[in-house]
Amino acid sequence: MNLGGAIRAIISFLIFVVLHYTLRPLLGWRAPMDFLVLALLLASVRVRPATAAVIGFVLGLISDSLVPGALGAGAIAMTVVGFGASYLKAVFFADNLVLNAFFFFLGKWVFDILYFVGEQRVKGVELLQQLLLWSPLSAAVTAAVGVLLLFLMRPLLEPAPA
């Protein structure tokens, strides 16, 4: 990735992070989109798996620090998701919106599974309901928003050649 591409990627990443802390609380949906996961996925496809894991770890710590009692759960989930996304980038990040949407959906769902299991706050039927109903819904919304943003920010989000 050249310097210009790196700067554009960083700007896109920051935009997603800011959207996560502005648009998401403003909408306040029951199944919210996750801009942090989107930012992580879009960054992961541009860097090595090790770097993606570090980015995921840092992003996870950031999100955990704003949720009392969940420190570490998000870091685990984001680390795994970032590493996996970077590892699978050649498979998924083709110039195909449907594939990208599935990539976002899968990334968000896996993140939620790891997060809620690691957090251990929600248990039993409630956990199942969360993982099988609300998490897929949230993942679908995230995927839709991700595809939309991918379309809108195409000049900024051109992936580096694999």
């Binding site: 992070v17 800011v18 802390y21 502005t22 648009l23 998401r24 609380p25 403003l26 909408l27 306040g28 090595r48 798996p49 090790a50 770097t51 894991a53 570090v54 995921g56 770890f57 996870g60 710590l61 950031i62 955990d64 620090s65 704003l66 009392p68 009692g69 420190l71 570490g72 759960a73 870091a75 685990i76 680390t79 795994v80 590493f83 590892y87 690691g118």
Partner: protein, 391 residues
């Protein structure tokens, strides 16, 4: 090449493992360490994000509460709009209650129902009829003064002619009885309001603007002393033998919604002191406030005196000095000849003062007037007491 790839993969896995171990370590931290760590991050490099999130939350709350707030604002506006009319109605009702308490008996309270048709500004329907004791030609009054007279009576309601009616007349006079006349409605213009004309005032009687005009009691319908209006100015008419004055009416019939109908048996008892001037009412209110203050002050003084008496009696019982009294130090008794002579002289002087006081008291008993103005002589206490003794 293959070795490089394997090396890179191993490096990636090592980093992944490190990150996961660190994340698990963070997860496994005890609550006492986890929370300070999170707080430290929130207060340092995450502070801008926290601020953004708080702003967004506030924005969402504002959006959610916008509709209830608007509804609340509308309710408040509606309440504020009603408040003015409620205040004026409250004021009128208070006056009406005050008038009722002054009249004491012989009246029928009624609601005045205004029509909105032609000539309806000169008549009104009253919500009390013959069953309540209303009869034809019963005077209708408001706290401010004269309103009209009942001209038709039904069992449950009655019809009254307001003073604005062209057929309405009332004998009027000034409160001191120096000028008499006949009051009737005076239409100021095609679209203007009503004033009152006081006609037939003797030419020798001049009324100044602001003079109050009341009903004279002549004619048998209206009792004496009900306010009709105040003089605005004299108007010129073709009658050369009498003056005509324009009065500002005491009551605007359009604003009258609650009235009192005077029963015929009440008219004969008089209405002295029923309509007091505003100044008198204000003075009475001020007197009530002042007397309330005086009573409170007297109560406070009495309470303080009682408290002081209790403390003094306790102090006496305990043999301690009274409250606020510092016992003077008793000097040692001087036995020198000069001191003995001085004490003897002091005793003689004290005896002389006591004798003078006794004679003055006898004189005062003989002459009470002088006793009221004479300054009382307080005999000096020269009795020697041991140290610490209570006087």
């Amino acid at each position: 090449m293959a070795r490089a790839i394997r090396s890179n993969t191993r490096f990636d896995l090592i980093i992944l493992g490190t990150c996961i171990v660190l994340a698990f370590a963070a997860r496994a931290l005890p609550e006492t360490m986890r929370e300070p760590m999170a707080t430290g991050m929130r207060r340092s490099f995450l502070a801008p994000l926290v601020m953004l999130q708080e702003s967004a939350e506030r924005g969402r709350q504002s959006l959610l509460q916008a509709e209830p707030k608007q509804a609340h604002l509308d309710s408040l506006s509606l309440g504020a709009m009603k408040a003015v009319s409620l205040e004026s109605e409250n004021d009128r009702l208070r006056k009406l209650i005050g008038l009722g308490s002054r009249l004491r008996w012989g009246f029928v309270p009624a609601e005045a129902l205004h029509g909105r048709g032609v000539r309806d500004e000169t008549t009104v329907i009253l919500s009390a009829g013959s069953r309540a004791g209303v009869t034809r030609l019963s005077p209708v009054i408001a706290p401010e003064g004269l309103v009209g007279v009942v001209d038709q009576v039904d069992p449950t309601m009655s019809h009254a002619m307001l003073w604005t009616n062209p057929d309405f007349r009332v004998s009027a006079m000034t409160p001191d009885g120096t000028a008499f006349g006949i009051a009737q409605a005076h239409l100021t213009g095609a679209t203007g309001g009503y004033l009152i004309e006081l006609r037939g005032v003797p030419f020798r009687s001049t009324l100044k603007p602001g003079a109050v005009v009341v009903s004279s009691g002549w004619g048998g319908v209206w009792p004496r002393g009900i306010p009709i209006g105040t003089v605005l100015e004299e108007i010129k008419t073709s009658e050369g033998w009498a003056r005509t004055y324009l009065l500002r009416p005491a009551v605007n019939p359009a604003d009258v919604y609650s009235v009192m109908i005077l029963r015929r048996d009440r008219l004969a008892k008089g209405f002295d002191g029923i309509w007091e001037s505003t100044a008198q009412v204000d003075q009475a209110a001020q007197r009530i406030v002042v007397s309330g203050d005086s009573a409170a002050k007297a109560a406070a003084l009495a309470e303080a005196a009682a408290r002081r008496a209790v403390i003094d009696s306790i102090a006496k019982a305990n043999g301690t000095p009274l409250l606020g009294v510092t016992p003077p130090p008793t000097p040692a008794l001087d036995t020198s000849p000069e001191a003995v002579a001085a004490r003897a002289a002091a005793r003689r002087a004290a005896a002389a003062r006591r004798a003078a006081a006794d004679s003055a008291a006898r004189q005062n008993q003989a002459n009470p007037t002088q006793a009221d103005t004479a300054r009382p002589v307080i005999p000096a206490d020269t009795t020697r007491r041991p140290p610490g003794a209570i006087r």
